[in-house]
Subunit: 200 residues, 2 copies
Amino acid sequence: MILYNNAVSGNCYKVRLLFAHLGIECEMREVDVVDRSKRPDILGGLNPALRVPTLVLDDGRPLAESGAILWYAGEGSRFVPDDRYARAQALQWMFFEQYEHEPAIAVARFLIGYSQLPRGQYEKRLPRLWADGARALDTMERHLSGRDWLVGDAMTVADIALYAYTHAAEEGEFELGGYDAIRRWLARVAAEPGHVPMSR
Amino acid sequence: MILYNNAVSGNCYKVRLLFAHLGIECEMREVDVVDRSKRPDILGGLNPALRVPTLVLDDGRPLAESGAILWYAGEGSRFVPDDRYARAQALQWMFFEQYEHEPAIAVARFLIGYSQLPRGQYEKRLPRLWADGARALDTMERHLSGRDWLVGDAMTVADIALYAYTHAAEEGEFELGGYDAIRRWLARVAAEPGHVPMSR
């Protein structure tokens, strides 16, 4: 399989982390996240939204959206629950991540750390992103207080999906110091056998 | 089951439409989408993000996020494909809807049609929402040209998820006239036996 990947994209890291746990090998092709001008040529026939990650299966069929790739690779493994309600709960957290968490935390991190724009060009957007991101983190903190994992009693694709940008939130100038349950959960995910960091 | 619902929310309509096709009955409890002050009392223990739809199962367990509810109710029916790759494709379009489509099209529609705000208060946001929404519609149009359904050869939860706000896009001042494939697909979804409109 081929994974159209970017080394600093949390959405791509989710896929790399699950693949590492599952021992799935694939060819990596790096796609720029700042200069997007080549994307129509590279991804045009594969992913209508021109985003990474995009996975191409051995038979050439493409699959886009990090959550859908996690589901495809994770079904049948210990990372997608057997129980129907637990499966739906995992999807609940993955949709939460894409709707409430990523558009704030990943965007602030990208603007500050990777966009190569002068701060004056995006500074006005930050207070709103910080407020939205803090609300998403508050939601996670309440949920993780008194439990080890987002769903059930073991790590699932939901934990992988939310770990990616949460563990890098400080690059977006989010302060994780007060989030005790989140910090314990981040350490728990990183301590799983087979874990790989975002960059190596 | 109890569905915390709002009559004009497309996210809630997705659930009502699938339930109608599946013959699932549930008790509806209406939640205001303009005055959100009562949400912590109503939804606080059920949905950490305080959004509708929120489903409460017969045994009291809650489930949030429209996509997760569609998956929970649809698994095992003709609306969730049997094939693993097709299932992942359905999720791909459902994540696309929540990340690229809904934040533009649903938000423009809400501001213009339902927010009760004077237009001057949100007018500056509209050009960006229209541009983002048009990009999502262009993506759908390209994909639907030459095929009847988003995934495979029958209606799935992906079509239900994207129908909800696409069919109401003109309320957000999106012009669907030039989108021939989308308009034919909208008519196809509405012609399915068991279809229910958003309001009735």
